[in-house]
Symmetry: C2
Subunit: 161 residues, 2 copies
């Protein structure tokens, strides 16, 4: 059974807080967020394939990736990394180019737990409650959950190699 994604959506405050445990160390889960060759293999819903335009995971670095489904529609996302502390903390901007100028600030905290496990804690800060509602209506929660399940599978395969 996979570890559950916990999402907290406080009323009237434009945040989404998330928590997810992994049966892998923080270093492995951090690398999966910062190494574009790993990131593209798990991010987002299963039906979308991800290609990386740019992914420079360091303070001041930029990223852009495009997700594409069987219908051929392209979904580009872009942002900049404000803070990157290896195996510990990432803070970045995030914009879906389909919603121009609706930019969120996303932080991810990676903490080791006993037994080679880790906890990933996230906060997304939206520029309005309406913007948050739009992302949630697009199936954001299911997309994140599916991504983390793919990440579990990917890290499991790597661990067995």
């Amino acid at each position: 059974m996979s570890n559950a994604l916990k999402l907290v959506v406080p009323e009237n405050v434009p945040f989404v807080d998330s928590e997810r445990e992994f049966d892998f160390p923080a270093a492995a889960v951090f690398r999966a967020h910062c190494d574009p060759d790993v990131f593209r293999q798990w991010i987002g819903p299963r039906e979308l394939a991800t290609s990386i335009d740019q992914f420079d995971c360091r303070p001041g670095g930029s990223y852009r990736f495009v997700q594409q489904g069987n219908d051929g529609r392209q979904h580009p996302f872009r942002g900049v990394f404000h803070t990157v502390r290896e195996n510990e903390f990432v803070l970045q901007t995030f914009e879906y180019e389909g919603y121009p100028d609706i930019v969120t600030l996303e932080s991810a905290t990676f903490e080791d737990l006993p037994g080679g496990r880790c906890r990933l804690t996230g906060r997304s800060v939206y520029p309005s409650v309406e913007a948050r509602a739009r992302y949630l209506a697009d199936g954001m929660e299911a997309g994140i959950a599916a991504g983390y399940e793919q990440l579990d599978e990917l890290l499991g395969v790597q661990a067995r190699q």
Copy 2:
């Protein structure tokens, strides 16, 4: 009489919205935000002198500047530019290094008004209501207001040259 700074601090929602008119065109006020040699001359309270470490005002560019008062204390600020549209819109991250990892997302919209005037509209999105309270308690409103008064003076001098 100078144009007034209007600041809106909505209860329980971690935003600060601002509005300020200038008796100068949007292009001049935009340039004062994006050209480090102009920016350092007006930003912040009068008693602090600003030096620029880095200021690359383009999408994906980084900035860092340091403000210093007569007491010799240094106040460094840093961030990355997510979006820059000339004379129109800037969206950037903002961190006072004295409050590490408390990062805000700041947008500025520049609009021309009749008579060679313009309106600057800002939104700062804080990672928590507590973080916002800390900045406000530090005299943020007076600092912004004083900075814009210095900007009025600077643009007035430039216009007369």
